[in-house]
Amino acid sequence: MNSDYIDVLLVNAPSPHPGSIISYRIQGVPPLGLGYIGTYLEKKGYKVKILDFYIDEITILDLELIVNELHPKIIAISTTTETYNNGVKIADYSKKLDENIITVMGGCHVTFEYENALNTGVIDIVVRNEGEFVMKELCDYYIKKQGNLDNIKGICYKREGKIIKNNRREFIKDLDSLPFPDRSLYQLEKYPIPGTISTSRGCPGRCIFCVATALSGGKYIIRSVENIIDEIKYLKELGISYVQIVDDTFTADIDRLYKFLEILNKENLGITWGCESRVDIMNKELLNFMKKCGCISIQFGVEAGSQEMLDCLKKNITIEQIRNVFLWAKEIDIKTGTCLMIGQPYDTLESIQKTIEFATEIQSYGARVVFSVTTPFPGTYMYNNPEKVGIHIVDKNFDNYNTFTPVYDTKYFKREDIRRNYFDAIIKLGRGLKDSKKKEEYRQWREFVKEKAEIL
């Protein structure tokens, strides 16, 4: 056996849209989930490589080269709803290169849509939810010929034409026990934001449109502050000076947040960082403390511009809380960003107008505001209960499940109406930018994006 051979190739499938790949050139981050799995497998003695199709130079020809030269026994493909179809194509291509390769698919989409994935005939195993322990057991089974497929919790597969769904695997409770993702598995220099860290899994929220809620069932499992700081120190040793905390929500456990800030302040590591947060736990003192400890940017979940719509989405936040947070952030000079949805199931022309007005208001406080189109991802309450929320899904092509293409009709709008409203909202938001300095910043930003888009 050639010592260069690998056991597992971990693949990050790409979006079908050039726009998404362009976006990755501007704000792309390494796929941490694959890093966690790869590192855990390495610690258990398996040889692993990551292939991220979002990196510009990476194409299916690289996959072919790896299969021909490094002979992976397992190719595990991570997909979202948007990237699922491309993931299937990669699995199909892999099988054509070598029919003996075991193809595994994981990620938020197939956790719920495992039947369709298995019925493609090119995916041998679907991993539902977390992949570290499952992949290790799959490697033991397929590579060391140990164990029994029936006993591996958290997978689905086909046997004699029938889909077998093994028992659910419990969520990993002790995240501190997982080794930090080994950053040498990535080509870090290819990512605009190479320094990322995941400090928790899941989300305690109950938003009807959100996959994080669907995946975690409302559970929120956290790492200890000491463990997080140790990983930040590791990133610093790699020369990273800005860390993006990529949790769905970093600030849900307020005691842990304060402890994190206290230790970060004491350690004086000299790094800056950004995160995502809900608005309801924020106050001015906390924001000040975050800034003092190196926080330079926070993305807040807003989603809608009226209390009625926020309540329909089960956001459990108020317009006043949102407004306060952005006003405080402006005063304290922390960069903020947010996204508001157009075309959510309960939207009317009036509610969309309110969303646009509120977006313009938040923008005037210095926040970077974008709009997205509400998308019913598989597994979410919205996807599972279309009649209850009043939508009729007319487009089942998952390539279009990307938060900027409408895929359903509502009680009030056909999907082409939603597209028009989305377009008009962006135009109105742009016209609402009055500050000449901000206008110039926006113009420069568009030039920058154009340059990045030209390479395709």
């Binding site: 790409p14 979006s15 079908p16 849209h17 050039p18 726009g19 790949i21 362009i22 199709f53 510009d56 194409t59 299916i60 020809l61 491309n86 194509k89 990669i90 291509y93 390539d399 990307n402 900027f404 293409t405 082409e416 597209r419 028009r420 989305y422 377009f423 008009d424 962006i426 135009i427 568009r446 030039e447 994006v449 154009k450 888009a453 030209e454 390479i455 395709l456």
Partner: protein, 101 residues
């Protein structure tokens, strides 16, 4: 080129009263009816041949050659604006020419 699959780089557009409007990098780009149909179909899945056939059907046109030339002209303009990939496959990206070889 008939088998090329053009793909728009942005989804920030609308079609209203038959005309297309795209938020470009510097300005709003307006498209006439034929260009709007092309743009809407330019999703990296439809070939130029399929788009030409569809337009010929919608407008009851026999001369495919004329429509094909019009489409090529539209593609050239939109590529120049930086918002269109003339032939797209996300698994090959810029190496798609090698695939055809």
């Amino acid at each position: 080129m008939f088998e090329f699959k053009p793909c728009r780089k942005t989804e920030l557009y609308k079609i209203e009263n038959g005309k297309g409007y795209i938020i470009g990098f510097k300005s709003i780009i307006e498209l006439n009816e034929v260009a709007a149909i092309f743009w809407d179909m330019a999703n990296g899945k439809n070939t130029i041949a399929e788009i030409v056939d569809y337009i010929c059907e919608v407008y009851d046109v026999n001369n495919k050659h004329t429509v094909y030339n019009d489409i090529l002209s539209i593609m050239k303009q939109l590529s120049k604006e930086g918002i269109l990939v003339e032939n797209w496959d996300p698994l090959y990206k810029s190496k798609i020419i090698l695939k055809d070889v």
